[in-house]
């Protein structure tokens, strides 16, 4: 059986001599002091994805994005010069939130408190009863602007006046690998979001290994990501690129969809997380890099907390916003192609429901793990060779913090 060889043997970690197969310290997942260091050394310096360019195509279109880790929001707006800018959503007058609407289109942002008004470049344009501010230098006052750059339509902000690295250097080879994927076609968006009582790394981990799929997901995606020729749900490949990494997930081509699932797949091909054996000819070389005929999805993590799950006909992202050592805001956004007809709307809905139900299987476990490790009684974790993505995250975190893994 040719397909047998497509389930990768156990040898992934050995490709990276700097990694061993041993246990790793668990305290990194719960110690508050380590968490504080992660925020300062990992999350504050990095680039954060705040949305997609398709959300703001016309001049003056904007959206407001909360950055839960940092407890403020940014206004992301398309200027009359076509540029996308990001501003702290706070009025320099006395600090009130300037924009209260989630998204829309404006020629100026006007604070509701005293009606100080700012143009699309964030410059202060008008101050009511300006005579009451003798010596006010309007030209020196504006919304605080953050470095904002786009990549493949994703809008990123950096919270530092001078970012430690440019966006393109941050994304590096891992970013280059995904360039050319039709991200801009996924304009039919949906999002689930909530807070989970778990460490941000546990949440990232749960989408980066399929070792748990035959067990935790035995009723749902087990039979699509494992099969008789790959009973343990081994992955196709794991690749480490800079601080980032990609797991190529195996798909069972012999899977026979359930009845309603089959109708969704027939009428909206490629939209499901459970598809396998997709035609990847048109995809960038970096996706399904081994060109496995059993490929289903790639899970790319842009370190630390931006996870892109990419299939042939859809993609979705997870964004993990750490709130505390044991609490994370989790945003899962799906990007589907527009429905070509009314029947395709059914396939979209089914894909959304399947994805939601499958991830709802994960979160209770993540909270149980957190409660247990926080006792300090679990001192070490053991990673499977195909959990290399998790091991590498651990090493990357420890490297940034200057501690032994």
């Amino acid at each position: 059986m040719e397909i047998v060889s497509q389930a990768t043997p156990v040898n992934l970690t050995a490709r990276y001599p700097e990694l061993d197969n041993g246990p790793v310290r668990a305290d990194v997942y719960w110690q508050p002091e380590i968490f504080d260091q992660e925020i300062e050394r990992i999350f504050r310096p990095t680039w954060h994805c705040v949305g997609r360019e398709e959300q703001i195509t016309a001049t003056g279109e904007f959206f407001v994005k909360e950055l839960p880790t940092f407890e403020f929001s940014v206004i992301v707006a398309r200027g009359d010069d076509g540029a996308v800018r990001a501003f702290l959503n706070a009025c320099p007058h006395r600090g009130n939130q300037v924009e209260l609407t989630a998204c829309g289109r404006r020629s100026a942002f006007t604070c509701k408190f005293h009606a100080w008004s700012y143009d699309l470049k964030g410059r202060l344009k008008s101050v009511p009863d300006e005579a009451g501010f003798p010596g006010l230098d309007k030209a020196a006052i504006g919304l605080t602007e953050f470095p904002c750059e786009t990549w493949q339509g994703f809008v990123f902000v950096n919270l530092n006046e001078n970012p430690p690295v440019s966006l393109i250097d941050y994304l590096g080879e891992q970013g280059a690998d995904l360039e050319g994927y039709p991200f801009d076609q996924g304009t039919a968006r949906f999002q689930f979001a909530g807070e989970v009582e778990t460490n941000w790394k546990f949440l990232v981990d749960s989408f980066c290994e399929t070792y748990h799929v035959p067990f935790l997901h035995r009723r749902t995606i087990h039979s699509t990501m494992a099969g008789p020729d790959n009973p343990h749900g081994r992955v196709v490949d794991v690749r480490l690129k800079g601080d980032h990494r990609t797991t190529s997930v195996w798909g069972n081509r012999a899977y026979e969809p359930k009845t309603v699932q089959a109708m969704a797949l027939t009428h909206t091909p490629g939209v499901s997380i459970t598809s396998a054996g997709a035609d990847t000819v048109q995809l960038p070389r970096g996706l399904n890099q081994t060109r496995s005929p059993n490929w289903s999805i790639d899970v790319t993590v842009f370190f630390p907390g931006f996870v892109c799950v990419i299939g042939a006909g859809m993609y979705f992202t997870h964004q993990m916003w750490p709130l505390a050592a044991n609490r994370t805001r989790w945003e899962m956004t799906g990007y589907l192609r527009p429905a070509a007809n009314a029947a395709e709307r059914f396939g979209q809905e089914h894909a959304m429901v399947e994805l939601r139900d499958a991830v709802l299987e994960d979160a209770n476990t993540l909270e149980r793990m957190q409660r247990n490790v926080a006792t300090g009684l679990i001192r070490a974790f053991h990673f499977h060779d195909h959990e290399l993505s998790l091991r590498y995250q651990h090493h990357t975190v420890c490297r940034h913090l200057g501690i032994d893994p």
Binding site: A188, R345, F346, V353, R356, V359, L360
Partner: protein
């Protein structure tokens, strides 16, 4: 009784009152609040006509649906919601599932509007 669905789908009329719902969130609530035998009944009742309903709707564009086609699509969207309860879990909710209200849908696809 007023006909709500296109000709040929009369066998599904009785499901309209319960399962033609405003949006994805209300469909999920209806699913998790319903007893399993009601979900089974809806699923089994929809199956014989669902394929033909999809074929019918493939000739229509979102944003341009007549009321009867809109209701037919609404029923199918509820079938999409109910499908995993029957095909995966055998119960309305995800088994050992995280509470839906702690991870809610905060941005939904519109049911009927044109997409671009």
């Amino acid at each position: 009784m007023t006909q709500r669905l296109p000709d040929g789908f009369g066998a599904l009329e009785s499901y309209c009152e319960k399962w033609c719902l405003p949006d994805s969130g209300s469909r999920n609530r209806a699913r998790i609040d319903a007893p399993m035998d009601e979900l089974q009944d809806f699923y089994q009742g929809m199956l014989p006509l669902a394929g033909r309903a999809l074929d019918h709707l493939s000739g229509f564009q979102l944003g341009e649906l007549e009321a009867r086609e809109a209701d037919l699509l609404k029923l199918l969207l509820s079938l999409a919601e109910v499908g995993p309860a029957v095909e995966w879990f055998g119960q309305p909710r995800v088994i050992d599932g995280y509470p839906e209200d702690k991870f809610p849908l905060v941005l939904a696809l519109d049911d009927l509007a044109a997409q671009r």
